[in-house]
Symmetry: C2
Subunit: 167 residues, 2 copies
């Protein structure tokens, strides 16, 4: 995607642009998660984020597989959206001086990332099906299911943390 170059003409172009976006997003998350893991205190949160880092590396490979299936070279485009979500996570985290509160903020930030991915994959799957690429949709659905499971795990950790702090 360039600026005002009008190079998206059809749904195939839009699908490829979306793939490039999620490819950037997944690689940005692989880069960002180690810092989040080192900031987290609760053992269950650290291990959930660590598990998700391994999962995310595999998701990057699945996105590369979809590029290949679709006959397009794998490349990223800048995503101001995920950059903004990750920047906000850092700003909030740098403002917190209590470890339990920081854990709660890290969970919230990670869930914002998950939801960005959940809606992105939902969209890409619908577009892939519209293009007759059920094979690509099927691979993308594996990533979507993992993001939904990661989000549900984070919700459970958030509720445990909130209840512990309230007790």
């Amino acid at each position: 995607m360039g600026f005002f170059t009008k190079d998206i003409h059809d749904m195939n172009d839009l699908f490829v642009a979306g793939l490039k976006d999620i490819y950037y997003v997944e690689t940005a998350i692989v880069d960002a998660l180690p810092d989040m893991i080192s900031m987290a205190t609760a053992k269950e949160l650290k291990s959930a984020l660590q598990a998700h880092l391994e999962e995310t590396k595999n998701q990057v490979r699945r996105v590369e597989q979809v590029f290949e299936m679709h006959g397009v070279r794998a490349e990223t485009v800048d995503s101001p959206a995920i950059d903004g979500i990750l920047e906000e996570a850092n700003v909030v985290a740098s403002d917190i001086d209590d470890k339990d509160v920081l854990d709660a903020a890290l969970i919230a930030a990670a869930q914002k990332v998950e939801h960005y991915e959940i809606t992105s994959y939902g969209t890409l799957i619908a577009w892939a099906k519209g293009l007759g690429r059920d094979d690509c949709a099927s691979v993308l659905t594996q990533n979507l299911d993992e993001e939904k499971a990661a989000d549900a795990k984070l919700t459970a950790l958030a509720e445990e943390g909130v209840n512990r702090m309230a007790a």
Copy 2:
């Protein structure tokens, strides 16, 4: 929130910081939706976005109500996250030269916004309950339910559009 001022000490501070974020987000959406409405072509999409604009104005008032219930002055903080999501929507839209494809991209962008709000309200509701503010949680749940309904409506419109273009 400042930069590195460590002014979030407890869950109440974090809750208020989150309220300020969603207050900024809702007002940014009120500002952004008219442009999306004018770019949209399909009548059902235009009217869904128009209805959501009216809904969003009401959501702003509910967030102000929660500030008041919680005894805190309503104010915003910058949200690089929603700024990034909205910026990305504009970049992608400016790259598209077909009206049906633009509609599909607008739906995807609007769903990214909805998902940012869905996860934000989910988090705020859990934190409010942990603070014993079930009254605030209840008001925030009204916004959450509307965001989920708006997202489901957009999913239905996306699928209709994809099927129409594929036909």
